[in-house]
């Protein structure tokens, strides 16, 4: 009974932080920037395509636009303050993996795993939340069967993409085309180094 209780609690959003929306120093709205304005993920999350860590944009990137638009908005005061004092903003991490997991963003982005697959419908989020549990079991769902989730590389940043009816067939085709070795994907060393 205790074991079952532990398991349920362990998998619950209480422990995994799924659907948890965190307060941020600036109430940045992905719904507005991505949904309304249509900004690409890579505009701000520079490392997503190139590095292990996708990154949070520097103050400079925010000010690229906000030095011209909404220049005196009260909501953006912390950003202006950050630029003036040269002190960065302290964002609260929403999607987090433990230290013993070596997660590399670029290899996912480069192999047809879309942003919305793991991060959810970001374009609908007024405040960022963790959409998925990000547990090892959840990661393994895709690592064991990548053909169920992989999409064409040119649709990776497309927030509106939905899996087609023939995802199974398309998935198998893409997995072969992208040389995704499902056997190797379930090696421990893929994430635990």
């Amino acid at each position: 009974m205790g074991a079952a209780l532990t398991y349920l609690i362990w998998k619950s959003p209480y422990a995994t932080n799924q659907w948890l929306t965190r307060g941020q120093p600036v109430a940045f709205s992905h719904a507005h920037h991505v949904g309304d304005l249509g900004l690409d993920c890579r505009m701000c999350h520079i490392g997503a395509e190139k590095a292990a860590f996708a990154g949070i944009p520097s103050t400079h990137i925010c000010m690229t636009c906000h030095s011209q638009i909404w220049t005196n908005a009260a909501m953006l005061a912390p950003v202006r303050e950050s630029l003036k004092t040269r002190m960065p903003l302290h964002w609260q991490r929403v999607n987090r993996l433990p230290d013993y997991v070596f997660f590399d963003h670029s290899v996912h982005v480069a192999n047809g795993v879309g942003c919305s697959t793991c991060h959810g419908p970001v374009q609908d989020m007024a405040l960022m939340r963790q959409q998925e549990p990000l547990t090892m079991g959840w990661c393994l769902q895709c690592h064991r069967h990548p053909e169920r989730y992989v999409r064409p590389k040119d649709r990776v940043f497309d927030m509106a993409w939905r899996a087609p009816d023939d995802q199974a067939a398309q998935g198998y085709r893409l997995v072969k085309e992208y040389h995704i070795d499902a056997g190797h994907l379930t090696d421990c060393s893929i994430c635990h180094r």
């Binding site: 609690i9 490392g47 860590f53 903003l89 421990c188």
Partner: protein
Amino acid sequence: MPSLTTDRMTVDRRVALKLLASAVAATMARCSPPDEEIVPYVDMPEGLVAGESMRFATTLSLSGYGRGFLGISVDGRPIKIEGNPRHPFSLGATDIFAEAEVLSLYDPGRSSAALRDGQIANWDDFATDWERVGDATAGSAIALVTGRIVSPTMLARIDALKARFPGLRWYRYEPVSDDAARAGAQLAYGRLVTAMPRWAEFDVVLALDADPLGHGPGQLHTARAFSSRRGSGHRQEIHVVEPAWTLTGAAADFRLALAPQLIGEVGRLIANGLGANLGEAQLSETSRAFAEQVSRKLLAAPERAVVLAGEGQPAELHALCHWINGRLRAPVDYLPSFDPIDTSSRDQFLALAEDLRARNILALIIVDVNPVYDSPDSLNMVDAVRSVPFSAHLGLYRDETGQCCHWHLPATHPLESWGDARALDGTASLVQPLIQRLHDTRTHDEFLALLANEPAKDAYDLTRATWRPMAAADFDMWWRTALHDGVIAGTTVTPVTISAAQLSRLPEPSSASGLTLVLSPDPAVWDGRFANNAWLQECPSPFTKQVWGNCIRLAPGDAAKLGIADEDTVDIELDGVTISAPAIVMEGQVEGTAASSWGQGHHAADNLLGGGAGERYCGLGSQPFPRVLNGAQLRKSAKVIPFRSTQSHTRLSGPAEELFQIATLAELAKTRSQTEALPPSLLEVPPKGEYAWAMVVDSDACIGCNACVVACQAENNVPIVGPEEISQGRDMHWLRVDGYARPQGGVMRRGFQPVPCMHCELAPCEPVCPVEASVHDHEGLNVQVYNRCIGTRFCEANCPYKVRRFNWFA
């Protein structure tokens, strides 16, 4: 909770379950992942991708000569040095010192503040003091002591300093220098030229107490040519005559152990064979037979044979070798010297000592050398330096010299510096920093600019000013190209054609009384400048596998006479000075010699560089930087000095010889056709993926330089454990180089066998792990899931190569 006051507490199943549930509930109270912040840049540097590495070409110097490397930097911090394929003295490789430099950069033992008489001061105070000194003393009473300077920017700084103080005395010395080679060239050709053998072109080489594959600024260049011939099927025949084992001796096909005084006789015999008529060579029968054989081989390979002499031999032998090479039409380039100072390091050092003794010097400036450590004790350098009214030392550490000077100023590490350097063949390259200065330090250029009161005082501006005349039109483009490439085109010195070498007389061999002490630069700490670098101190010496110290290597006969066994402490006495050190018996070292190295034994340094490990030998004798000292007495010591090594058993005999296989080419051709059948196994065959990794170490090409050991340590953040733990057998190196000695073909041969994790296909460490932390992946690698490991160490026990390491304090 059941009451604890009952007389007999019965725990039945219900109670147990209640306890379990409450415990579980307690642990669930706080079980979600911790909160974390992401703090990005305010203004991100251009081109930087967070967490990804960037490579910058820079140059690191060794004994004054540069080798170009690529520094790998992550998030603005250099973490690794790798080779620069474009630089002729790197060719994409690194040596042990380059790999270790990154640790020296972050060394907490580095000086971080200016000290005046041991008290913390600052650079402004120094500038004020210097101005007063500059005004008070005439130029000729100011002495500048440096290492070898061939960097154009540094030479310009010295010129500026001389312009401000005409008559400034500049003493330059390098403990590991080429004094004998230069004197030999002077004797043979009447001019200072450096011989650069074209390694790829010769078939037979004789090294007379030379160690071309040994450590030094030219090692990478030589080793690359050596290994390319090794692997090509068109091998070179290497003959070595030396008193004690060197890396070249281990790689040799034919080796003769001969006393250093008699090595010249081999040269005499060979020269006689070429018509020199220098008198009878005084060699024993075996030595004569060896010399005659090598003479025949040299003569049988015209234009493809060369003879080299080492720094431990006199200039006359070097001159004779030039003559021999001329007669053999050896493939050697002669480069005119681009070192502006013609005098030898020894003479310059002695002149410095004399001028200090005579109280001719009123202001002493020492830039990044350690004359107090390097000096023979008979010159009394401590008092000499202390007697100077004003002295300043610029260095990375407050070493022996820094303690004796009034001012000790912290130097900028090369990885934080702007500057330039030249390689052995003159190829110039820029030095660029990979990180902002960690402390308030100055580079050598900036220090001299400060002393000369130059208008520009920043190393960046100074370096750019040096090279501006080089670039015809677009300097910025030229500068960016030079920084990107890591070499400056058009700076390599062109070889000169020289006249035939003069045949000079070779003096009769001196007779040695007592033991001859043979000294060479330490394979880990070089001339002592790396004494505080823990990676290097813990890197096992190639032959003795000693760490944190330098032992005395003895020939078996000498050891047997005194009843000395391995690791016994011995006293070696020379001219009234006794040094105690642990001894190791080395089969293959010539009788009558004791061998050791410079660079260790920093007992006098305030902050005990290297923990005071090892013993200091450079104080012995009357000449600075001694390589051969006669008249030593050896006896067993009453003291006990611990000998720490990572491998105690190196001698292979009988069936153990198969651990290190040596074969002649003929034998090898015969064995190649045999294939071994795989023995049956109960182990599960691992799954196969699309491709598999493999790594091969060519132990025939391995010269034992240990660069790979330190490189692995740098790359994988392998910690050092210190001398006490090593004594208990707990070394942490992920890649070790096993040294073996075994007889083959009637002679004792030595070799090196790098042993990494072998990533066995049927790895014995995998089935024994109770938690499956040691697993095999689809790409053929044996991998470790660190977070699963519970530390039973069954894998370490089962590993046949004993390469598994447990770092409890990670």
